[in-house]
């Protein structure tokens, strides 16, 4: 079964384009404008981060942005209410940590995403082996659950993991937390290739992509990339929506040129 999020990515891919998904920390100052700028600059989908107190998968940039958002009073409700007002013409996912879904209960959390026009969820601390109860509820509500595949994921689990993924398969590019790196890790194309070998779902590389050139390199194998920390750093450095738009344009152009 494919939902609207995955359909949108599949149809972009079918048109010969590499996919560009970007992450924006919800609740950060003017984050809505950054989402709109990213969409206008050619992003194919947006991940809206709901800030969490203990973002264990995130490196310093997204940690800092999350803390600033929390200090400004961001809550799941405030971020989702604002998200509901966004009309970018591209699909929206949320990226957050599992306790924010566990606390209200799977049903209520899924319903709150639906109300906000969100069609996919990424929960990096809910690994495949623990994800079935959430996926069942999410799927019924029409929320696609992206699964993360890591360089360490053994072959015997990768097939099931990719089969369970909806929206896309998030190929974690390296052993580590989110953040830009000076070179693309060789694990990035390896995990992308391993995923591509077992699924026809869109496979996107995230974690560790630090430049448009690295994005192009990852896309020699992957269907696309996820850009998070590089974009959030624009927000942290005060470049706002304009800086975000320019950054996304550079990635878009690089991917389109190939």
């Amino acid at each position: 079964m494919t939902g609207s999020f995955e359909e949108a990515l599949r149809s972009k891919r079918a048109s010969g384009k590499k996919l560009l998904v970007v992450y924006v920390t919800g609740g950060f100052e003017n984050w809505e404008a950054s989402v709109e700028a990213a969409a206008a600059a050619g992003a194919d989908a947006i991940e809206i981060g709901i800030p969490f107190s203990d973002p264990v998968m995130d490196g310093p940039v997204i940690q800092q942005a999350s803390q600033i958002a929390l200090d400004r009073g961001a809550t799941p409700l405030s971020v989702l209410q604002a998200a509901a007002e966004l009309d970018t013409g591209i699909p929206h996912a949320v990226m957050t940590y599992y306790n924010l879904a566990h606390n209200p209960g799977h049903d209520r959390f899924a319903a709150s995403l639906v109300r906000a026009g969100i069609t996919a969820a990424i929960l990096p601390d809910l690994p495949f082996v623990e994800s079935a109860p959430w996926r069942e509820v999410a799927s019924k509500a029409g929320i696609e659950t992206v699964m993360l595949a890591a360089p360490t994921t053994p072959d015997h689990r990768l097939g099931d993991l990719c089969a369970a993924a909806h929206g896309f398969v998030y190929a974690v590019g390296l052993l580590g937390v989110t953040g830009e790196r000076s070179a693309l890790a060789d694990t990035a194309t390896k995990i992308a290739a391993r995923c591509k070998a077992v699924t026809d779902k869109p496979v996107l590389v995230g974690v560790g992509i630090g430049s448009p050139a690295q994005a192009v390199e990852a896309c020699s194998v992957a269907d696309g990339v996820i850009i998070g920390s590089a974009l959030v750093r624009q927000m942290l450095d005060g470049h706002g929506a304009e800086g975000v738009g320019q950054l996304v344009s550079r990635y878009r152009a690089a991917l389109d040129e190939g």
Partner: protein
């Protein structure tokens, strides 16, 4: 039967599990397999007990508190984990994990620490076994436990002050997990308590089981029967898990004492963080709250999943005591028995003092999990005592 092996996937009832990023799942699986093999290997188990005996100082004695018993009206026995090498029960788990890590071919240990006791113990094991060691400690805790920071450095460990989030134990756990995600191949995460993803809660309790086993035999030898009550303080819950496991199948009442400002079980809201489903202090939407008490070692907003399970089935109870009661208990034990307890441990004593009227004539076994040398500076400030020049 309680306090046996968790069910597959590491569940204690509905609690436990393995809620970590996918990258770490294979590492947890590898650790579980390695631990099962090692614990079934008599050579490993012998090594573990030999190091605890010859290096750690086990068995730790059982001390009968004649003066305190007289004052309180109940028979108070102390399991003296404060007399272990490095001054607390923490050494049991650390020796077990360090030997296991070495057996797995790892050359580096990372650890989180709150008060610094687990950090010191890990640094000690790393020195003993010639391993690299990095300890993450919240910046706030670095301030309040500067002596322990220096002890870790003396032992050759690198200490990093964690400045994210609340800058306490929970953030140190986050940072240690982030380190481990990036360094899996040669690094073992030496988790300090019965929390985290499976197999940690079970493995750490197993390494601390020796506390309960010894205490059970010692109580029997001294009193001819099981104690009426077994009491221990609870942060993550490792010393409590160790002593409870020796009495889980007895009739003894099991009491885990939480700090009022960190009463994860007391508040009873299930949550998922740091790899486990357990009781967790959190706000109304699920953001993890900062635990606040007089003792850095108990300032953890969660609790080991097996304690959540024991609470949920009513096998153990988890009351809390406030800082003032702890300060009084700290001084009471020092003056009546000549034993300065860790502030963490003083929570267990404080509960016994408060409940003494309901414990008349009973035998109460307290796990004296650590010594209080590290807390003396802090107590001088709290009690407004000037240094004698």
């Amino acid at each position: 039967m309680v306090m046996i092996e968790p069910t597959s996937g590491g569940r204690f009832g509905k609690f436990g599990g393995r809620f970590v990023p996918e990258t770490l799942i294979p590492a947890c699986e590898e650790l579980e397999v390695a631990f099962r093999e090692a614990w079934a290997d008599p050579t490993f188990v012998d090594d573990f007990h030999r190091v605890l005996r010859d290096y750690g100082g086990r068995p730790s004695p059982l001390t009968e508190c004649f003066r305190l018993s007289n004052q309180l009206g109940c028979r108070v026995l102390l399991k003296r984990e404060d007399l272990n090498h490095t001054g607390s029960h923490k050494i049991n788990n650390v020796i077990g994990q360090a030997l296991l890590a070495q057996r797995m071919g790892k050359t580096r240990l990372v650890a989180e620490t709150g008060a610094g006791q687990h950090g010191v113990a890990t640094a000690t094991a790393a020195a003993l076994l010639d391993m690299d060691c990095k300890v993450y400690m919240g910046a706030v805790d670095v301030q309040r436990q500067s002596l322990n920071v220096f002890r870790m450095q003396l032992l050759g460990a690198e200490v990093e002050a964690v400045k994210s989030g609340s800058q306490t134990l929970k953030d140190a756990v986050n940072e240690a997990l982030r380190d481990w995600v990036a360094t899996l191949e040669g690094t073992h995460y030496c988790l300090g308590t019965v929390m985290g993803p499976h197999p940690y809660p079970w493995m750490v309790r197993t390494f601390h089981h020796v506390i309960g086993d010894e205490a059970n035999e010692q109580c029997l030898a001294l009193t001819g029967t099981d104690p009426d009550v077994v009491v221990a303080c609870i942060g993550g819950g490792s010393n409590a898990a160790g002593i409870f496991s020796g009495f889980a199948s007895s009739e003894s009442r099991l009491v885990g004492v939480e700090p009022a400002g960190g009463a994860a079980v007391g508040r009873g809201i299930p949550g998922v963080v740091h790899g486990m489903n357990s009781y967790l202090m959190q706000d109304e939407v699920g953001q993890v709250q900062e635990a606040k008490s007089i003792s850095a070692g108990l300032d953890y907003p969660g609790v080991g999943p097996e304690h959540a399970f024991l609470a949920s089935i009513g096998r153990a109870e988890y009351p809390s005591v406030n800082d003032q009661e702890v300060i009084e208990a700290f001084q009471l034990l020092s003056r009546t028995e000549g034993i300065i307890p860790a502030l963490e441990t003083a929570h267990a004593i404080a509960w016994v003092v408060r409940e003494a009227k309901n414990l008349q004539g009973q035998t109460v076994l307290i796990n004296l999990s650590g010594r209080g040398d590290k807390d003396v500076d802090q107590m001088m400030e709290i009690l407004n005592v000037d240094r004698v020049v």
